[in-house]
Structures are given as structure tokens and as C-alpha cells.
Symmetry: C2
Subunit: 361 residues, 2 copies
């Protein structure tokens, strides 16, 4: 595919962003750095992104008049989270391009579609099976074994909508916890660590990836990402090629997060996120072009940055009362603090992150 | 001086910024990163800073109702340029603290006050003399010699309001160019290069300085800043101590730019700017805490970052039709582009800058 000059939105154009959380906030700052304006669409009041955006619409995804006015005021539409209702997307897409495209969204909104898509590309996932009934679940447990984890196919993130199953006898309770929603059973895989690749694909079809980061979760929420990850050169190369295969198969435009398990048998794809990703926040202080700018570049049709890192980084999420440590972090050498402007620190709530920068080894 | 807890503005507070240009824009982004909101006050329409600010007032500095409403809506006031009218400052200061303080502003608004202040601290400036009449100017030329440069004492920057004098006979024309404004004659000094120190002083009286950068000007406008500057360890230490002496003498709170000439006889102070400074833009990609965040920290009463750099940087200003080179810069490895969102590229207009990041040597 050749990039046409007409595809590039000129600086001064407006990027519409669905969702006004911290990802929208940091996308908006990156857009400003390249001379673009942003317009946030967010149902919740006083979203973090509104503090650094040119405009903000506070309206629900059912408000078709507000959606139409929003679409008319922007030149392209992107999003910071993947669970935008289909009807809203239909209305928006009729007016303006949505990048990344609808197919990427649809796949990432549904764990079964996602796993079928990934395995269809020849990539490896943990063993999985669709579960709608107790019979499905018992058959799946028989095939996959325990421990296993039952997840709703849609919504749910950071450990929500998930039940661990240690024995067949737990099947009825686990299924009941799904509240009748379609689910997928995933087998546990024996992995040494989790890494993620933050990769981008431009409007011209070019692909650029950042160095993989190594992720540690606490209570189902990302806690730290360390760059570089512990990977052999071959694994590093595999990880990036695998991400590129996903992006190309989707004719994707924008940044994607690809979570991988490192196992003795190779890399397994855990999940993909069609947006900037928490495990890519380190790029803000490790690269000349961070993931937020990379996404903006893709969405407006600019050439991608090459993603090379100039420094090593350990990113730590500040969750809930981690904010009590901010005074100490402010005094740390080489610690770059990023707060999201959220008034109230609740347990499990992402309040900010800190990038600790070290010379590249 | 001890810092009192009551001096610290909590995240979520609003910083009022006088001036909506690129410095206000980058201050606003830095404020957001620490969880603060900003309110811009700017006479011109559609200021660059408004795209990334919580609020923007478009009104003149004569509009006392607008100034009062602005002051009432913010918790502290800072500024991105030093030529705010005195009456406006009087009104604002009655309502909210202004940081850096009025004395720093008054001194930097008047070249004679500035030079008298600096030499009063025991620092060295180029030879200078106040000029109001032709007799003053001729006497000053006789004492200082030529070449020399005649400048209005107030306003004027980036080469405006300045006339070079090569011979006594040019005195009448040079004086006429001042349009009756009070002026100062400055002798030329023989210097090998210019450096600047970006230093900050916190509300608690602590001082932190970034590594000095080496500046190259073109047509009287900063073109590049290179870090590290060519300085001996002794000169580097002198430069930082000298900046600290200035900050302490002014009981200063915030970031200051101090321009120095490097001469065989030592460091000469060229001028000071009581604000974030163009020659400090490199800190955005060379330090965990950049000059904009450092200024915000000082103004809200947070501890200063230590200013250590993790990478070497060459900052290049993009002026006027330098914007034509943006497509090439976007493709450069390790080049971080910062555009100001200005619609029209006019000759001499600062449109953005690029920080080229290199491993620290």
C-alpha cells in the first residue's frame, strides 16, 4: 500500500479520542507535541484527559446527537479503550475514519474471536475452549485440565470477570460467576515470565516495534515493566515478528500492545490490546518517540518513529495508596513521575506511574 | 527558611500562567504530569497553550475584571514572559502569590537594574553605561570603546531594540533608533562561546541546576543548545554557584535562565530570564525532571528534582521555514520533535524545536 499525501492530516487538525482516562490524557499531550489538537469524548464527568485537551464532550455512547457533533468536529477518530458500543462506532465510522479499524476492535472485544484469530495466524495461545453451559465447562476441564481460568469473553480486564478453577467440582460455582455471559476456559501454561511488545503500524503499512518489556503483575494488575526484558536474541526477534504478523493481518493503523508468555516451548500470545498500553509507558522516558506519539503519528498518517531506546527504564504503576509514596519518589534521582490528575485514590485505581531511567546496557 | 506543609499546593490545584505561548504550553503539560490544572491568561486569540490547558482567559492586561476573575480561579500565579504591566501585577498579587516574585520581574524588565543588581552581587558583566542623551552616549563610547551595542533598557529580545555602534560618528543615529527610550550601552567582550545555566530554587530555599548548555545564535535568535557545554570542571562549578547566588539574592522561587559568556578572564553574565528558558528545552529529553516540571515543582512548593541528566542532547530551534524540514526530522533516529501548534510560519517565529538525544559521554 502506498501512502498518499492526501492521507496525512496536517498539524492543526483535530484527533477525536474516545475515552478520557489516563491513556487519552497522555495521547492528548503527545498530539500537542506534534501540533495537533484533540477532542475527548467521555461519558464520565471531569475526565483526566480534559485537562490537556482542546475540547471535551461529556456524553454517553447512546447520545447520538452528541456523537454526531463530536464526529463533525474532528478529522479522525481513535480510542483509548476497546469497549465502545457497536452502535456508537457505526455512527462515528459513517462520518470519520476510525483508527485502529473496527476489525481490531471487534477481535479484542471478544476473547474467543481473539484466540481464534491468533491461532488462525499460526501463533500459539494457551489451550482454550468456549464455555456457555456446564456441560461445555466440564468437557473443557476434562480436555484442558486444572488449574484453569474461566473468563467472560467480553469486557473484563485487570482481573475482573475471571474465576480460577482448581478442580472439576468447582465448575458450577465458576460458571455461575459468569452471570450467564459467554465465557472461555483457558488452561494454565507454565511460563517463566511475561513480556509485552508495543508495536505500531503506520498508514503506509510500515511497522515499528519497541524493545520488549518484562511485566510483573500484582493482584491481576500490571505492577512493573522492566526494559530490557530477559529474552534471548532469537526470542526478541520472534516477539517483534509475531507482533508484526498480527498488525499486518489486521491492516492495523496505530499502536498495539501484545502480551506474551515466555515458555520453554517458545512464546505464547496471552492477549492483544488495540491501543496504547500500560506496559509501554516506559517509552516516555526511554525513547525519543514514545508510544503515545507513535500512535498519533500512525493515526494522522505521519511516518512512524523507529522506536529505538536511548535508556533502560523500569516503569512502576502507582495504584491506590501507592500515592502515599509520591513525596519520596519526587526526591529520587532519575525518577520521572507521571500522575493522572485523579482526585480520589481508591484500591486498584491507577493513579500514575514512575519511570526510573538508567543508562542503556 | 523552613518549608511549611501549608505552602504546598495539593495536586488538583490550579496554576495560573500569564502568557499563552510555547513556554506556557510546555509548562501546562508539565503541570498535568504532576496532577495540577492550569489556567492561561493571554491577550492574543487562540494561544498555543490553550490546547493543553484546563482553562484559558483571552483578555488584555488592562481588563481588571478579567484579571480579578482569573486570580480568583487559581491558587498561584506564574508567568512565561517578563513584560507583564505593573498595574496588572499589582492587582494579581493582591489576590494570589506570584512566583517568581516581583523583584525578579522588575530586575529582568530593566537592563540597567539587572546589571546594577548583578554587579552588586560581585558578578562580572560586560562594561555598561546608562544612556539617555547624546552626551551620555558619547561619554559612554569614550569610556567603553567600540564596537559596542546600544539597547533599550526595557522590552526588546531576540535582537529587537538593539543597534550596534562601530564608531563614535554613529552615535546620533543609534540614539535616534531608541525612539527616546532609556537605553544602555554595552561594550563588546571577547568571548569564546556562550553557555547558559538553567537553575531552580524551591519554596524551601533549596537550589538545583542543570548541566550548562552551550548556545549558538543565528540572527540574534537562539539556534542550538548543546549539552554538555565546553567548560572546564572549575568553570562548570563557577557557573552553577553564580546562578545559585543570583537565585538566593532574589529569594527566588522557580526556574531561571542565566546566560554567560566564557572569556579568558572567567565567566561574564550576559542576562538573566526569570522563567523557563529556550536554552533549557533539552531537559525534556535529557533529564527525568525537565525545566518545565522543575518550575512547576517550585511554584507549587514540591521538592525540586535534582537535575541530573541521563543523556546528552543537542537542541535545535525550528524557526520560520525550518518547518519545511519536519518531514525529514520525523524520520531521524533519536530525534524528539516538539511543535508549538502555531498555524503560520513567519520569518523569525519559533515554531518548535527538536532534541537529538545521544548516550551520555
Amino acid at each position: 500500500m502506498l501512502q498518499r499525501t492526501s492521507d496525512m492530516l496536517k498539524p492543526g487538525s483535530t484527533i477525536g479520542i474516545l475515552g478520557g482516562g489516563q491513556l487519552g490524557r497522555m495521547l492528548s499531550v503527545a498530539a500537542s507535541r506534534l501540533g495537533y489538537k484533540t477532542h475527548i469524548y467521555e461519558p464520565g464527568a471531569n475526565p483526566p484527559a480534559a485537562d490537556v485537551a482542546h475540547a471535551c464532550t461529556t456524553a454517553s455512547y447512546d447520545d447520538h446527537a452528541a456523537l454526531a457533533a463530536f464526529a463533525a468536529s474532528v478529522d479522525v477518530i481513535t480510542y483509548e479503550f476497546e469497549n465502545v458500543p457497536t452502535a456508537a462506532l457505526d455512527l462515528l465510522e459513517a462520518a470519520r475514519p476510525i483508527r485502529p479499524n473496527r476489525r481490531a476492535l471487534a477481535i479484542s472485544q471478544d476473547r474467543m474471536l481473539e484466540k481464534d484469530f491468533l491461532t488462525g495466524l499460526g501463533l500459539t495461545c494457551a489451550p482454550y475452549a468456549a464455555v456457555n453451559t456446564l456441560a461445555d465447562l466440564e468437557a473443557a476441564i476434562a480436555r484442558i485440565g486444572t488449574p484453569a481460568i474461566l473468563k467472560t469473553t467480553r469486557l473484563g480486564y485487570d482481573g475482573k470477570g475471571q474465576v480460577r478453577i482448581m478442580a472439576l467440582a468447582e465448575a458450577p460455582a465458576a460458571l455461575a460467576a459468569m452471570n450467564g455471559a459467554p465465557a472461555v476456559l483457558e488452561g494454565f501454561v507454565s511460563f517463566s515470565h511475561e513480556v509485552s511488545v508495543i508495536a505500531a503500524r503506520g498508514l503506509d503499512g510500515s511497522v515499528a516495534a519497541y524493545d520488549p518489556g518484562e511485566n510483573v503483575h500484582k493482584d491481576g494488575i500490571l505492577s512493573t515493566t522492566t526494559i530490557p526484558a530477559r529474552l534471548t536474541p532469537a526470542q526478541r526477534s520472534d516477539a517483534v515478528l509475531l507482533a508484526a504478523r498480527i498488525l499486518n493481518a489486521l491492516d492495523y493503523v496505530g499502536v498495539m500492545g501484545v502480551e506474551l508468555f515466555v515458555t520453554p516451548q517458545g512464546l505464547l500470545v496471552n492477549e492483544i490490546a488495540p491501543r496504547v498500553h500500560n506496559s509501554g509507558h516506559w517509552t516516555q522516558n526511554g525513547c525519543a518517540v514514545d508510544q503515545f506519539e507513535q500512535h498519533v503519528r500512525a493515526v494522522v498518517g505521519l511516518p512512524l518513529g523507529d522506536g529505538a531506546r536511548h535508556s533502560d527504564v523500569v516503569m512502576e504503576n502507582l495504584i491506590g495508596d501507592d500515592v502515599d509514596r509520591i513525596p519520596a519518589i519526587l526526591k529520587e534521582r532519575h525518577a520521572a513521575l507521571h500522575l493522572y490528575g485523579k482526585a480520589e485514590a481508591r484500591p486498584g485505581r491507577k493513579m500514575g506511574h514512575v519511570n526510573r531511567v538508567r543508562p542503556k546496557v
